[in-house]
């Protein structure tokens, strides 16, 4: 599903990020664990096409995304990836429903006539049917992250890239969000790549890679 080989990226003058090998099977739920600054988010950004490697191959769903053009990569990312961020990254001017619909608007994989129904269904699935028209500012942090999960999954992507999805939540809310995320990924048969610095969160996933085993940031 996701395979990296000999990937390098220059991060700045004299600093190079390297990942020699990484592989995740379809439907796998993988934790990328390590302390802050070890390069795990960079790895996730490379896999999801938010960053481009300077060398090496990143194959996702059979496609080497390093060889895609900018426009092709935009389309590929929208179609195959769902994103969940530590700070939720909802769009403030839009309601919960609109935030989920925007996920479909840009991915362009769901016909426009289905956007609303599918967004409503997804928000119901994450338990927010009563908050469809609420703006992010009026939602609790747990609710915001559930909207983000709904947005990430609404296009039925092949991979969920979750960067510290519980980092802004209290332990109780974090546990609830993790339960929901794992349950939905199981249901949708989605590959989950989850970056966390929290070992207890990482331990909840069937597979875990330590950042130190995967990534090297070396001075050149």
């Amino acid at each position: 599903m996701v395979t990296l080989s000999n990937v390098t990226r220059r991060l700045g003058p004299g600093v190079v990020f390297q990942c020699l090998a990484f592989h995740a099977e379809p439907g796998a739920r993988v934790a990328l664990w390590g302390p802050s600054g070890c390069g795990k988010s960079t790895l996730l950004n490379l896999i999801s096409g938010l960053l481009r490697p300077h060398a090496g191959a990143i194959v996702v769903d059979g496609v080497d995304i390093a060889k895609l053009s900018e426009a092709q990569l935009d389309g590929f990312r929208g179609e195959r990836f769902g994103f969940i961020f530590q700070t939720f990254n909802l769009l403030a001017p839009f309601t919960a429903l609109q935030n989920v619909m925007i996920g479909m608007r840009f991915a362009d994989v769901v016909p426009a006539r289905e956007w609303r129904d599918r967004a409503v269904a997804m928000l119901k699935r994450v338990g927010l049917e009563h908050r469809l028209h609420a703006r992010p500012a009026t939602l609790s942090v747990g609710e915001r992250q559930r909207v983000a999960i709904a947005r990430a999954l609404v296009n039925r992507p092949r991979v969920i890239a979750a960067d510290e999805p519980t980092g802004s939540l209290d332990p109780k809310a974090a546990a609830a969000v993790m339960d929901l995320l794992l349950e939905l990924c199981e249901e949708e048969k989605v590959t989950l790549l989850l970056v966390t610095h929290d070992r207890t969160i990482a331990d909840r996933l069937p597979e875990m890679f330590s950042c130190h085993d995967l990534v090297k940031e070396a001075a050149t």
Binding site: F83, N89, F94
Partner: protein
């Protein structure tokens, strides 16, 4: 959930800035709309009225002054000409109508125009600018027919009487004639200078000024007003004959002929053309300043929402879509500014139109879509879009990973 809707939501999310930017565009557009509309409309109405008569023949002097005083009742006449000129004109082959006018008095600022009943029956271009609303035309001396505006403002009704004041300028101590005019008719509102005039038989003016001249100490026989008219309004068989007859009269008679439309066009081209250019330049300057405020507003907005743009890119938005959505914001602001400016301009035109109706008798339309106006508004829209390009380019260059990582 189109890009238009997304752009609109972001504008709505910063209402105050958006409204202020729209207002600044509206100010410039309002000025441009007012200048162009008033210029087009006044010129159109002046020319429309000027077309009624092919020539005005009066005393030698300034042809524009002659036209303004006799066709639009605005200026002081250039003097009088001998009545023989009227007879000469009536004898010319291509002259279809020659209407004498004699002026010298006013009533509360409304000019008293002595003429013949032929003029009251004159219907240029199928219009009837001298149609009666009530009463009748004069049948004897010292009977008057009031224009609609003159009747409304003076409060005179059919059967009322009034005394005229000597001269064209209202001033304290002006000589008031003893003779009394009787109102016998009121004209229907025509939206022309006639609305602000008082018509009477030319004999009334002659009679009154004979007495006036006597009272002034002139020896009887020295001055005979009945031998003179202020001007003659001429209708030719064809407008194509205007220049030929103007030159012929100017060459062969002790009088001056002027073509009303030509004099008005000269007035607009030479004098009002410069005023229009200055006002338009100010309008465009305001629009340029507005365009800069659009640029700054959008640029600041893009800096503040770099993360939002990065999120959209992560969700699959292409660089083109991001560029387009920012350009659409510039389009919305400019379009709304144009719409608000159009309303502002129309309001100004309506207010000034009301004033000009009082002053000139012209009814002006506040909404005129002239080619100049359409070009000007298109130019404003283009300026707004150009102002959006730099912020859109900034948005286009979004570094997704970096902007997502920023706290």
């Amino acid at each position: 959930m189109s890009l238009w809707h997304i752009a609109w939501r972001y504008l709505w999310n910063r209402k105050l800035t958006t409204v202020l930017t729209i207002l600044s565009v509206a100010l410039g557009v309002g000025l441009i709309v007012s200048v162009l509309t008033l210029r087009e409309e006044t010129q159109r109405r002046f020319e429309q009225e000027g077309q009624a008569f092919d020539l005005v023949v009066g005393a030698k002097g300034n042809p524009l002054q002659l036209v303004l005083s006799t066709v639009y009742f605005l200026d002081v006449p250039t003097g009088n000409i001998k009545k023989d000129m009227l007879e000469a004109l009536r004898g010319m082959e291509d002259v279809e109508g020659a209407f004498p006018v004699a002026m010298g008095d006013t009533f509360r600022g409304f000019r008293i125009v002595g003429t013949t009943l032929d003029l009251m029956r004159f219907a240029p271009g199928g219009q009837q600018p001298y149609a009666l609303a009530e009463g009748r035309y004069w049948e004897r001396s010292m009977e008057a027919v009031l224009g609609a505006q003159a009747a409304e403002e003076s409060g005179l009704r059919v059967g009322d009487t009034f005394k005229s004041t000597h001269g064209f300028v209202q001033m304290p101590g002006a000589e008031v004639h003893d003779e009394v005019y009787t109102v016998v008719g009121i004209l229907a509102r025509s939206g022309t200078p006639n609305d602000r005039a008082i018509f009477c038989g030319i004999g009334s003016v002659w009679d009154l000024h004979t007495h006036y001249d006597d009272a002034d100490g002139d020896a009887p026989g020295d001055h005979h007003p009945e031998d003179e008219v202020t001007a003659v309004l001429v209708k030719l068989a064809s407008p194509a004959l205007r220049f030929e007859y103007r030159d012929k009269i100017n060459r062969n008679y002790n009088a001056m002929a002027a073509i009303p439309v030509q004099e008005i066009q000269k007035l607009y081209d030479q004098l009002l053309g410069t005023a229009k250019a200055v006002l338009l330049a100010i309008g465009y300057l305001v629009v340029v300043i507005s365009a800069v405020s659009i640029l700054i507003g959008l640029y600041m907005s893009i800096l503040q929402r770099r993360r939002d743009l990065a999120i959209m890119r992560a969700l699959g938005a292409t660089r083109g879509e991001i560029f387009g959505s920012v350009l659409i914001e510039a389009f919305w602001v400019t379009l709304l500014g144009i719409a608000a400016g159009q309303v502002l301009g129309m309001t100004v035109c309506a207010a000034l139109g009301h004033y000009l109706t009082q002053r000139l008798g012209f009814h002006l339309s506040a909404i005129v879509w002239s080619p100049d106006l359409v070009s000007a508004l298109s130019a404003v829209l283009l300026m707004g879009m150009v102002a959006g390009i730099l912020p859109a380019w900034q948005a286009y260059r979004t570094d997704v990973a970096r902007d997502l990582a920023e706290p």
